[in-house]
Structure formats: C-alpha cells, structure tokens
C-alpha cells in the first residue's frame, strides 16, 4: 500500500521506478509472508494450533467498540503466501505485457494498491477491517478493469463490476451489522470472545428468525451474498466476463487468482458461523450440513454447470477463461459447502496457480498475435509459440483435472469426493457434468488456438522472456501443488485443520475412493476426447459456424449469448432502476427545482422592494433633507448681507428685547 501511495505521486515517465517499487514491495511482502508461513508451519509441526491475533480498539462509542485486528493462522498463512507469490509473478509479467502502454506507472500504482488491499482482506481479524479492505479491493478492481477508460466498453464493464459486487456487498454489510448487534464484537478471534468462537456462536444458534433459520444461518446467508457478488456466483456473475476488458495481467491477478478468491476466503473465514451446529468429528471434517451451507453448495454447483455451459460457446479467448473462472468458483463454493474449509481452499490455491497460468498464457498469445483475441483467428501456434503452448497445455490439463499428475485433479477430486459422501447426490452429478464440460471447452479452446493452421492476419511471435518465465514457474506449481493434497498425504487438509498428516499409501485404500478417481478420470478423458474429435486439428474458418452450432443452432445461440442473463437483468432491474432514476430526476428538476426557483423569485422580489425603498424613500428623503438644509443655508446667508446698518438694527432690537426682559424679570 505504501508503494501504491508513492507511485501515485510519481510522474508517468518514471516507469522503472514504479515497477521497481511495486515489485520490490510485493517481494518484501512475500518474504514476510514466507516467514509467517514458516512460523505457522513450525507451530503445526509441534501439534500446536497456531492462531495468533493482534487486536486493537479503533472507535469507542458508548459501551461498545469497533475493533480492528489481524490474525495469523494456517488459513491466512497459505493465503498470503499464495497472494504474494502469484502476485509477484504477475507483476513481473506485467512489466513485459504493459511495456507499450503509456500509463505504465498508473497501472503499477493500482496493482500495488490492490495487492495491499487483498492482503488486508486475508489477514483481517475484524469484520470491519475485512469489509474496508474488501471494498478497497472492489475499488481497485474497478480502476483496473476500466484502466483503458477511453474505451467505452471498458468503462461500462468497470461500472458493471463495481455495481454488481456492490449489490452483494449490501447484503454483506447487513450481515456484519447483524452479527455485531448479536454478538457485540467484530473480531473473529479474541481469546474466546470473538464472533467465531464458541461463546458467541452458541448465542447465535439459540435464536431463530424467519423461515426457520437460526440467526447464525441467516447471517451466514447474508455474508454469502456478499461473497457471491465478489466471487461471481450465479445471479451476480454477470460482471466477470465483461471484466475481461481490462488488461490481461489484471484478469490474471484479480479475476483468476485473488479477488474472486476473496469471496471463497470469506466463507472459509466465517466457516464456524456457517457450520455452527454441526458436530465436528475428530478429523475436523463435517458430518452434516446447515441450511446456509446447503445454499452455498447448491449455488456453487449450479454456477459451476451454468458457466461451463456458456463457456462452450464463446469465441473470445479471455471470455472462455472468464466463464471457466466462474465455473471453478462454483466448484470452490460447493467444496466449502460439502467438505469444509480445507477442500474448498485447496481448490482455491491450485486454481489460483493454474488459472493465473492460463490467463498469462492467454495474454502471451494475445500479445503474440498482435492484440487479436478471437480464437477463430488463431491457430497453429504450437509451432510459433512453443513455450507458451507447453505452459498453456499444462494449465489446461490442470484445469480439466487430468488424472494423477496435475494439481487440478487432486483438488477437484477432493470436491467430488466430498460431494459423493454428502446426503444429497444432486450436487455430485452437477459437478461431474461440469467437469466433463470443463475438459470439453478447454480442449476446444486449445485446439482452436494452438493446433491446426494459422488463420490470423499477421504472423505470430513468441513472447519475451519476462513474460514466459513466470509462465514456466506457474506451470511448475500447477503440477507440484498436487502433491500436498493427495489422499496419500493429505498435508493441506491437515495443515488447515491443525492435525498431523502422515504419508501413507493407505490413504488410497479408502472405500469408494478408487472408484471415484477412476470415474472422474474417465469423465475428464471423455471430455478431452470429445473435444479433440470435434475440433482436433480441424481449424474451421472464422466465418463458418461451429460444429456444435450446426448440430443444435438454438442451443448454441443461447449459450453464445450467455443464456440471456444480462438481457434479463436489463429488462427487469435495470429498466426499473432507469425508470426510478427518471422519476427522481423529474422530481428533482420540477419539485425541488421549482422550490428553488420560487425562493429565488421571492428573493428577487424582495431585492426589488429594497431597491424601491432605497431609491425613493431613503435616498429621496435624504436628498430632500439636504435640499432643505441647502435652502435654509441660503436663507441664512441672506442675513449676512454686508450692510452695516442691517447688523446694527438687529443689534438694537436685540438690546431692547434684552432690556425689556431684564426689567420685567426684575419687576416680577
């Protein structure tokens, strides 16, 4: 954040300084986060549940206080390492991607601000601090999406993003207020008195509200609404695809790895609230579910399938990835709802890496194809951009959940496993279908972009090393992170839940697990196979309709037009809002404006009256008086006529009068 402030004061030409400051400060943050992580790791290794907090009172009103604070526990430790690391790679990438842009410095200013805010969200111990950083993240997202604000589509997309997340944030804020009112504290953990700790939760559970929900459940749902906005769950997902108007590093950082993950993180953070009432078994995993978690699961599963369906029919390389992100966020939410914090968070971490990889790869492709973004105008890039192809392929396989080697497989499998063991199997089937679609559309995209022959306008070229090196690093992690989540060594799950995690191949021997893994592998291979069979090396011309379009034109059109959600919103909410805005405008102009005009007219009248009084009465009176004085002066001047005899006469008369008065007064 300090870097952001300093860069904001720098001038445009100082690009190197801006980039250095940003990357430097994020590097320092990374170091600090690694140290913190190490600390938590050490504590975990010694079987301690590490949860350190630093709280302080910010405002005191009456008997209650608004507290702020920071927390360091396994959850925040993994998040800060992830945010810093992925962020650092993206910052380095951006120096190459944005090299031609003249607003380089401003870009890094906003990026730094975003990174600061995101880290604030992750380490916040106070709902108030989290909300403040949450809003700040939303703001920087707005600034970055609308970075090229001269483009009307970019400005509109930024506004849409901000407003849509705002809708969610209103519910979030209501949840915060309610929670504060019920528990009296904003802190999550406060040595037993925080809102996520037993005392407060017990109080929340005993109270009930409408629809048979407990207060805990109701607050949880409100907070989920906020997360739904930020993480693009089903009704509020409309801003994410349009947010691709921003530069690709922005898409990678914000809309793949971090900001949208903030919603998932929020649910993980308030998980004790959402899961309040479920008895926890000793492994720290949930056995039952609450109303709030059920809603989370279903919304997540529905989002996963909905977005995946739309992604099949998109032609813009970034839009496919955007819908893929929405879909994967649905997976994460479903994972949280079904399997607990560890399951959802693991998918979040792996997704951050391979989605950032995919976005940066897409950016590399766009850069190499001279700002072309339509996949129907690409093709055959396997030969022209080999490094990008290799890393992109790794990312795509990870996303699809290709068996065994890639982290995506393990994380998605974790979610599917949790779904399978749930009471209702509905989400499981939805998520499996979603996995099929994911593999399918990613194969479609890869074959359009990298296979076949080149259909573009100019020749493509590979990207500079500053862009491909981060790709390689991310690809490595996309594979490597899988290791910490396999059933043989469930390190991640154990770390988050504070247990120990021995490495044992017996983990594979859990009942039903092998069947599940085989099922999901088959689904993935089926998806990839279908995609390859339909799109393979074919490279149809840009004007030709897609293979599936020929098969089912209505369905294709519907999917391509994003299932008309935006249009629906336009007709209902936005039309209503526009009408309301017009009414308000009329009211403002006519009624309030009328009152103002009336008052102005009255003032004018008063001013005229004053003028009249002034001119005729005051001035006139004054003038008259002066005239009188003048004329009386004139009169008096006649007394002084210079004639001696006249003076003497007056003197004589006066003396006679004086004598008379004296005689009479002495007589009387």
């Amino acid at each position: 954040m300090v870097a952001a402030g300093v860069i904001a004061l720098l001038k445009q030409p100082k690009r190197a300084a801006a980039a250095a400051l940003s990357i430097g400060s994020l590097g320092v943050s990374l170091l600090i986060s690694l140290i913190a992580f190490g600390h938590v790791l050490a504590g975990w290794a010694n079987s301690l549940a590490v949860r350190e907090t630093v709280n302080f009172t910010w405002i005191q009103f009456g008997s209650s206080t608004a507290d702020l604070g920071w927390v360091l526990d396994p959850l925040s430790a993994v998040m800060i390492v992830m945010v810093c690391f992925v962020g650092l790679l993206i910052f380095i990438y951006s120096t190459g991607y944005m090299a031609h842009d003249e607003n380089f410095t401003r870009f890094f200013c906003f990026l730094s601000l975003f990174a600061g805010a995101m880290l604030g969200v992750v380490i916040a111990n106070s709902l108030l601090l989290l909300f403040m950083c949450w809003e700040l993240v939303g703001l920087t997202s707005y600034l970055l999406i609308g970075f090229w604000y001269q483009k009307p589509s970019a400005a509109a997309a930024a506004k849409k993003a901000f407003l849509t997340t705002r809708v969610g944030d209103i519910f979030f804020f209501l949840g915060i207020v309610w929670l504060f009112a019920q528990t009296g504290t904003l802190l999550f953990y406060n040595h037993g008195f925080g809102s996520m700790e037993g005392f407060a939760l017990a109080g929340l559970l005993t109270q009930h509200t409408n629809f048979g929900l407990t207060v805990a459940g109701a607050i949880g749902l409100l907070i989920f609404a906020g997360a739904a906005g930020k993480s693009g769950q089903l009704p509020l997902h409309v801003w994410l695809p349009d947010a691709m108007e921003g530069p690709t590093p922005v898409s990678a950082l914000i809309h793949a790895a971090t900001m949208v993950a903030a919603g998932v993180y929020l649910i993980a953070r308030v998980y004790p609230l959402m899961s309040a009432g479920i008895p926890l078994i000793h492994t720290g995993e949930v056995t039952g579910t609450t109303a709030a978690l059920t809603v989370v699961t279903w919304v997540g599963a529905a989002t996963a399938v909905f977005a995946a369906l739309i992604a099949v029919a998109q032609n813009d390389i970034k839009r496919i990835l955007a819908y893929s992100t929405v879909s994967q966020l649905g997976y994460m939410m479903a994972g949280l709802g079904l399997g607990g914090v560890a399951v959802g968070m693991f998918h979040l971490i792996t997704h951050a890496f391979f989605k950032a990889l995919l976005f940066l790869g897409a950016g590399s492709v766009i850069h190499g194809c001279h700002e072309e973004q339509d996949i129907r105008h690409m093709g055959g890039l396997k030969a022209d951009m080999p490094l990008t192809f290799a890393t992109y392929a790794i990312g795509m396989l990870a996303l699809s959940g290709f068996p065994l080697f890639f982290s995506g497989f393990w994380s998605k499998d974790g979610i599917l496993e949790a779904a399978h063991s749930g009471a209702i199997q509905g989400p499981y089937y939805l998520l499996v279908f979603g996995a099929l679609l994911t593999a399918f559309y990613m194969t479609r995209q890869v074959s359009y972009v990298f296979f076949g022959y080149w259909r573009g306008h100019h020749t493509a070229h590979e990207s500079p090393r500053v862009m491909t090196v981060p790709l390689a690093i991310l690809a490595f992690f996309a594979i490597a992170l899988g290791v910490i989540g396999t059933p043989a060594w469930p390190w991640f799950r154990a770390f988050l839940n504070g247990r120990s995690a021995p490495f044992s191949l017996h983990g594979f021997a859990e009942p039903g697990l092998a069947l599940l893994m085989i099922t999901s592998s088959c689904v993935v291979l089926l998806g990839i196979g279908l995609g390859w069979w339909l799109y393979g090396n074919k490279s149809p011309k840009a004007e030709d309709p897609d293979v599936l379009e020929k098969a089912a034109p209505w369905l294709w059109a519907g999917l391509r037009d994003r299932l008309y959600v935006d249009e629906f919103y336009g007709v209902t909410f936005i039309a209503f809002y526009a009408w309301w805005a017009r009414v308000a405008d009329w009211f403002d102009r006519r009624v309030w404006g009328g009152i103002v005009a009336l008052v102005t007219w009255l003032f004018g009248l008063w001013a005229q009256l004053n003028r009249l009084i002034d001119t005729y009465w005051v001035n006139g009176g004054f003038d008259k008086a002066c005239e009188e004085i003048s004329s009386s002066g004139g009169l008096l001047a006649r007394v002084q006529n210079g004639r001696v005899q006249f003076y003497l006469r007056i003197l004589a008369v006066a003396m006679i009068a004086l004598a008379a008065i004296l005689i009479w007064s002495s007589r009387a």
Binding site: A637, Q640, N641, G642, R643, V644, Q645, L648, R649, A652
Partner: protein, 106 residues
C-alpha cells in the same frame, strides 16, 4: 405722570434725542447722516449726564461737567475719524450710499 420732576423732563428729552439719533443712524442711507445720528446719540448721553449731575446728590462738584466735556472731546475725535473713513469710502466707491457697501456679504 412721567414729567413729575424736572429731572424726569430732562431725561425724557435725552431719551427722545437718543431715539431720534438711533433711528437716524440705523435708517439713513447717506453715511454722513449716519454720523450725525451718532453725534446726536452722544449728545443725548451728555444731556443725561448733566441732568443727573444737576439733580443728583452733589451738584456742586464738577464731576458731571468734567464727564460731559470729556464726552464732547471724545465725540469730536470720533467724528473726525468717522469722517475720515467716509472720505475713504467715497474715494473708493464714488458714492456714500451705505446700502451699496455690501462687499462683506457672505
């Protein structure tokens, strides 16, 4: 009656003379006639002095007579001065009409 005693009679005559002199000084246009009026007033005052001396407590002392002679001498001097002023005015304005001497008019 006003003329109860010879003193009263003398005083009355003196008063009459004074009034006539005053009237003349205040109303005549000619400057010399104004001087005459002033002389007349002075003489009336003299008469008053003599009357009070003759019918006063010490008629044998020469007080009144001395006073009157002084007064006549002063009157003469003053008349001379006055005439000198009138001559100067005449030389300047070519007339003795007092109504026209209003250069001090304000």
């Amino acid at each position: 009656m006003i003329i109860a005693s010879p003193l009263a009679a003398y005083l009355l005559v003196a008063a009459l003379l004074f009034a006539i002199g005053l009237a003349g000084a205040l109303t005549r246009r000619n400057a010399i006639l104004v001087l005459i009026g002033i002389e007349l007033m002075l003489n009336a005052a003299n008469l008053n002095f003599i009357a009070f001396w003759r019918y006063g407590p010490h008629p044998e002392a020469l007080t009144g007579m001395m006073f009157a002679i002084f007064s006549i001498a002063v009157a003469a001097a003053e008349a001379a001065v006055g005439l000198g002023l009138v001559i100067q005015i005449y030389r300047h304005a070519r007339t003795t009409d007092l109504d026209q001497m209003n250069r001090m008019k304000g």
